[in-house]
Symmetry: C2
Subunit: 222 residues, 2 copies
């Protein structure tokens, strides 16, 4: 089975959580929108009857969207989740909480509307980011300081959260990581995995940038 | 099996999506936090190793949290979803999109932080709500204008979205419903279901109010 991943070609974004699972498992996949004509193919998947937004995953005739749904379906097939229903539910609820966390990260720089420029909502962003750093970020980091012991897709997603947050909020993270070493251990364990190391060193890993979900604006991390 | 639902006793909120499924199916359940000492029992379920936030559902020894995860597990047991994995995934991705929609509704009145009062973020709320009404609300209503034919938990959740949006944004909805009759049909079909009718007329249905996710502030619907 060669999977097809559909996601915006310029950013890591939500697609990265699926990409990390595929890469860690050494699965065969095509990153469709990064190939010739791929973005047009992705756009045809969107809309009523299709996906609400990227990422989408095509597995044979099956088309899935919504990152936690994709991972919930995919991970047992990649050896990144058990097959029993209660165990899968325990992971899905963690992943859904990561999705909420990620949406809050996004809204630190887009608190008014995703379709407006950051420059048009800087004042609101400053306020929202301050509250996020003070209240929400510690709450999430505390919650994820003791994840499931058995390695799986949630660990890969937590790795990505730490990577992204370090890029976006280096000052806040330097302070908070000392108080939540459990989450840092999860991050470091992922970083030692051979397939992850190879992936991060490859051109397949898109660098963080100011178009993605994790963005570094010094004024939002003071 | 008597299910136990744990959710804030003062509001419909996210718990309502689970409640509607239990009620429509005629399932036996206890709304724990609305009983004596129940809120304290709910608080003990929260935190690392437990749930990130309510709602939570207890089914025997299994404790589940995150609304879409609860419904994904519960619905096939209530006859509100098929049992095949691809069919369940098709519903889960719809429900996750409803969860995103609901979070955006929440943020219309809390664009800076959930832990601050509305009165402390009114200016930002006005801007966010205007963008929501103009850009996001039509996008979601269009997406859900043609849901799955087979009745299930997603229909119940779409009913709740329409009810809540009519309460919160009566002007915007009056305009938009004319352009998206498909979603209104889903709503009306749910309203004809006997168990739903009985539930809505009962004291178990908490009225909409200004503590919930759907809030009516005229200045956010002009």
């Amino acid at each position: 089975m060669t999977y097809e991943l559909y996601y915006w070609p310029q950013i890591q974004g939500r697609g990265e959580f699926v990409r990390l699972a595929l890469e860690d498992a050494g699965a065969r996949y095509t990153d469709v929108a990064r190939g010739r004509g791929g973005e047009a193919r992705m756009m045809r998947l969107l809309g009523p009857g299709g996906a609400f937004a990227p990422p989408a995953l095509k597995a044979g005739k099956l088309v899935l969207f919504q990152t936690p749904n994709i991972l919930h379906w995919l991970a047992p097939r990649l050896g990144l989740a058990p097959r029993s229903e209660p165990a899968r539910a325990a992971l899905l609820q963690q992943q859904l909480t990561i999705a909420d966390w990620l949406a809050e990260v996004h809204d630190t720089h887009h608190p008014v509307a995703a379709h407006l420029y950051y420059e048009d909502q800087k004042k609101e962003a400053r306020r929202r980011a301050a509250e996020f750093r003070r209240e929400r970020l510690p709450k999430y980091m505390k919650f994820f300081a003791r994840p499931q012991k058995r390695f799986g897709y949630v660990h890969l997603s937590l790795f990505q959260m730490v990577e992204g947050l370090r890029y976006a909020f280096p000052n806040a993270m330097a302070r908070l990581e000392r108080r939540h070493p459990g989450l840092v251990e999860v991050h470091d364990a992922v970083l030692r995995r051979e397939n992850v190391k190879a992936y991060l060193a490859s051109p397949r890993r898109i660098p963080f940038n100011r178009m993605g979900i994790f963005r570094h604006y010094p004024e939002l991390d003071d």
